[in-house]
């Protein structure tokens, strides 16, 4: 869906000792993570372990209390203030898909995908619509372009949300439980789109409860608990033989269901 990525293998996202505290609750207790270009990283972990907070720190929906973030060569140190120009530059490189889709309900599907391109990339309406149509066709929504989001199924809405993010040509895509709000069947449509995106070389960080997806698509699996990464590794190996008791416990809890 995007141009083939050159220079596969270089680190394009680096989180270093990211800390985030809410009141006296430590949501992230100094998390470090490197992601290479083209890599697909899946994050799993119990509720409240800080998975969403970690993703949200990457594109600054949440500002960490300390730590540094490096995205495609530009550095942000959270000890100081982040300028709004840096913020917008960062967000142009990083796309995000939410559990609750978050489409704009007053715009039809095509507008949802075209409008951000016009405002963020300065594309003309024609250019933007062309890109949008192309993307929407690829996610199987050619016949839904004029519909308003409320008239689309959850799976369709989530695919629109993915197209909307991709239209801005991000280099990294973040997914926060993209299928958790969906019936299993509709979730599959979304996972299929994500799988294709991964095959095309998109760098992805995916918070998910879909163990099969993580096992088959991810290059690396990360287990979080209590605001920390407690274990990481090749998905098949980690799933077969988790090293920590905490990870073992979590994995058996979700696979037993």
């Amino acid at each position: 869906m995007t141009d083939p990525q050159p220079k596969a293998g270089e680190t394009i996202l680096r989180l270093n000792d990211i800390r985030k505290v809410y009141g006296d609750h430590v949501a992230l207790g100094g998390v470090s993570l490197d992601v290479k270009r083209g890599e697909v990283v899946a994050i799993i972990g119990p509720s409240g372990s800080g998975k969403s907070t970690l993703l949200r720190c990457v594109n600054q929906l949440e500002v960490p209390d300390s730590g540094t973030l490096e995205v495609l060569g530009s550095n942000i140190d959270f000890a100081g203030r982040v300028s709004s120009a840096d913020l917008l530059a960062l967000r142009r490189k990083v796309g995000m898909v939410f559990q609750s889709f978050n489409l704009f309900p007053h715009m039809n599907v095509l507008r949802n995908v075209s409008f951000p391109q016009e405002r963020v990339l300065g594309r003309s309406r024609e250019e933007a619509d062309k890109v949008s149509r192309d993307l929407l066709e690829r996610v199987g929504l050619a016949n839904k372009m004029e519909n308003f989001p409320q008239k689309c199924s959850g799976g369709q809405q989530q695919r629109v949300a993915i197209a909307r993010a991709l239209a801005l040509e991000p280099q990294i895509m973040l997914f926060d439980e993209p299928t958790s709000a969906l019936d299993p069947e509709l979730g599959l449509e979304v996972l299929a789109v994500m799988r294709r995106l991964a095959d095309q070389g998109m760098t992805m960080v995916v918070v998910t409860h879909e163990i099969h997806f993580a096992a088959e698509v991810a290059d690396r699996l990360i287990v979080m608990a209590d605001g920390a990464i407690i274990e990481e590794g090749v998905p098949s190996e980690l799933l077969a033989a988790p090293k920590t008791a905490r990870a073992k416990q979590f994995l058996s809890a979700i696979t037993d269901r």
Partner: protein
């Protein structure tokens, strides 16, 4: 039968009164709602002084009975050297009341825009101004619209208070007919019906709109 012939005779005057009522109402809304919009934004300004001054102005405006507002503008302003005719005074007074009330209605609408949508807009890299202009205002306004329409109907009813300024609106016309014919009940009934002719379908419209909106946003 006699009642009907009376009504037919009074109708032109009452209709001209109704026309004045509608005019002052529409003008008050046209002036008041944009000011309400500005106040809504100022009342959530980052600057604490701006925010608190706005909140005070809005609370005073909402707390002051419309009748007092009318009297102050019409009888009070001349003392400050500003003399207004009853029409202008009514428009200004009702406009002020409208701005205070609608600022709260609009503020509630803006606050009801789902947080997730605004976050998605942030995550897309949209600028703050674009988010306000293309997401927050259109969405918030849509949410506020049924309540604003309900308020517009209310203001038409409140405009009858302008009879105290001698504005020849519907109620004044009915009074003066009553004064010359002594058939107060009959003429006031007809005046009441004329208000209802506008307010009841207006109410239906609002209800219909609310239903469509809730379906749309569901």
């Amino acid at each position: 039968m006699e009642l009907l012939t009376d009504w037919v005779e009074w109708l032109p005057r009452l209709l001209s009164g109704l026309w004045v009522s509608v005019q002052v109402t529409v003008l008050a809304l046209v002036i008041g709602i944009p000011i309400g919009f500005v106040l809504a934004f100022m009342s959530s300004a980052r600057n604490a002084i701006v925010r608190w001054l706005t909140i005070i102005v809005v609370e005073v405006g909402r707390g002051m009975p419309a009748l007092v507002m009318l009297q102050m503008v019409y009888f009070g302003l001349p003392e400050a050297g500003v003399v207004l005719d009853s029409f202008a005074a009514t428009v200004i007074a009702l406009g002020l009341t409208t701005s205070a009330y609608t600022s709260e209605i609009i503020r509630a609408g803006l606050r009801a825009v789902p947080e997730g949508e605004l976050e998605a807009a942030d995550a897309l890299g949209l600028k703050r101004g674009d988010i306000v202009r293309f997401i927050l205002i259109p969405q918030g306004f849509r949410i506020a619209l049924p309540t604003l329409m309900g308020f517009a109907i209310l203001i038409l009813q409140v405009s009858s208070l302008a009879f105290t300024l001698g504005l020849p609106e519907l109620l004044s016309q009915a009074y003066s007919i009553g004064a010359s014919t002594f058939e107060y009940l009959e003429v006031l009934t007809l005046a009441g019906i004329l208000y209802l002719v506008i307010t009841v379908p207006g109410g239906w419209l609002v209800e219909n709109f609310e239903k469509r909106l809730s379906k749309h946003l569901a």
